[in-house]
Amino acid sequence: MKNAWRLLEVEYMDDPFRNLAVEETIPRMVGSGRSPATIRFWHNSNTIVLGCFQSADLEVDFDACKETGTKVVRRFTGGGAVYHDGGNLNYAISLKKGNSLVPGDDLQMVFRRLSEGTVRGLRNLGVRAEFQPINDIQVDERKVSGAAGSIRWDAVFHHGCILVGSDLAVLGKVLKVPVAKLADKHVQSVRKRVTTVRDELGRDVSTREVQDAIIQGIEEAYGVELEKDVMTSEEMVLADELFRTKYNRSEWNLER
């Protein structure tokens, strides 16, 4: 019998703070053994999600955020700032540490291995996606998906966002891109470094269609079966606590 992963579609589209609280809840519970291996799909309306080591002041154009109604939230994993809107699909994989897919303590290996399902899903759709170390999925040197993750709480955690049909014009406005970052990429702006599934396929694509393709990609890549389920009551309690004490606070989101 195939291994089963729980498939969660818990999301708070207009509350990125609650979304990120759930994002931390799942690996904590999976690591402690109280929840099964899980993949979660979710959306945010327009939001900047900062990496846990980033400076909000240095990365975010707050005037542009105000103008475009973009919120700013910090995640618990490292990596760079990303822009989410309804045209962006988020996925998060939480496995108990020691899972045979990702043995050991090598975060680079986690990114590589746990991007495979997504790469496969995108290819099934017709996008020539490739994993690009350290943590990107690219199409012809343009980023279509970025990942981040951690190994902690006795769990292996990998999450990523996929630009399906996001508004790249807003993305270019709300994120400040440091000159030093672009220096070795031979391109001038964040607009030119990224692409969307829609642009690659030359047609409108829903995030649902991409999600279905990734579910299939994951089942093929890892030999698992995804079973739709809901959060446990224990998870709801922890998510609520993390929302109140961490993700709904500007001390966490903006102070660094």
């Binding site: 980033q54 490292g78 990596g79 350290i134 943590n135 902690r152 440091p178 970052k181 220096a183």
Partner: protein
């Protein structure tokens, strides 16, 4: 006890460093370039200062100081700029306030504080962004940020704390940061210990505000 004498002599004058060592403390006098009169005055005063150094050292407001340094000011004809450093791993820095005859912890007074910043893109890796304040060549405060990965995540803040009071100098930073990564079991992805060293040095070279 006098341990080391180093001197240079040239047409413009002579310079010497004298190092006195007792059980706990190295006391270093750095004269800078002096002419003959200045040299003899400086040496006279060294004699006097080594006589009272125990009183200076024993100011009870500080932790034991492992190193005390000072330099000679030709204009005012006196040894000045007394700095003390603790031996503990945090290497706290003090400056001697001779008007009040006591040590003042550096960082407690806002004199000579410079705000500096730099962005450093690690080779094949991520961006390290440094914002620091420097006082007399030492790190007074430091914020490290960027799009790298560090495990465990909590250790970036610990690294920032470790850097407080350290000299913005390549070998000091290198050994401090390497030792931090080793002893704490910190692992980086997209960033290595030497990238933090390079970023900090780049910031230290930046014009201050």
């Amino acid at each position: 006890m006098l341990r080391e004498v180093a001197h240079r002599r040239g047409r413009a004058g002579a310079a010497f460093n004298l190092t006195f060592v007792d059980q706990e403390t190295r006391l270093v006098f750095r004269s800078g370039l002096l002419n003959e009169d200045e040299t003899s005055s400086a040496l006279d005063q060294v004699g006097h200062l080594t006589g009272i150094i125990n009183r200076i050292k024993s100011d009870s407001s500080t932790e034991p100081l492992g190193l005390i340094e000072c330099s000679f000011d030709k204009k005012s004809d006196r040894w000045q700029d007394f700095h003390g450093f603790t031996l503990s791993s945090e290497k706290r820095a003090y400056t001697f306030d001779d008007a009040n005859f006591k040590w003042v912890r550096l960082g407690d007074s806002p004199v000579n504080v410079k705000l500096k910043s730099a962005d450093y893109k690690a080779d094949g890796g991520k961006l390290v962004r440094v914002r620091l304040t420097e006082q007399d060549g030492l790190v007074k405060s430091v914020d490290l940020s960027g799009d790298f990965f560090i495990l465990p995540e909590e250790n970036l803040e610990k690294l920032e704390k470790t850097l407080l009071g350290s000299r913005l100098q390549s070998s000091d930073l290198q050994s401090l940061i390497n030792r931090f990564f080793e002893t704490t079991g910190t692992r980086g992805l997209g960033v290595k210990p030497e990238d933090f060293v390079k970023a900090l040095l780049l910031a230290s070279e930046a014009p201050g505000q």
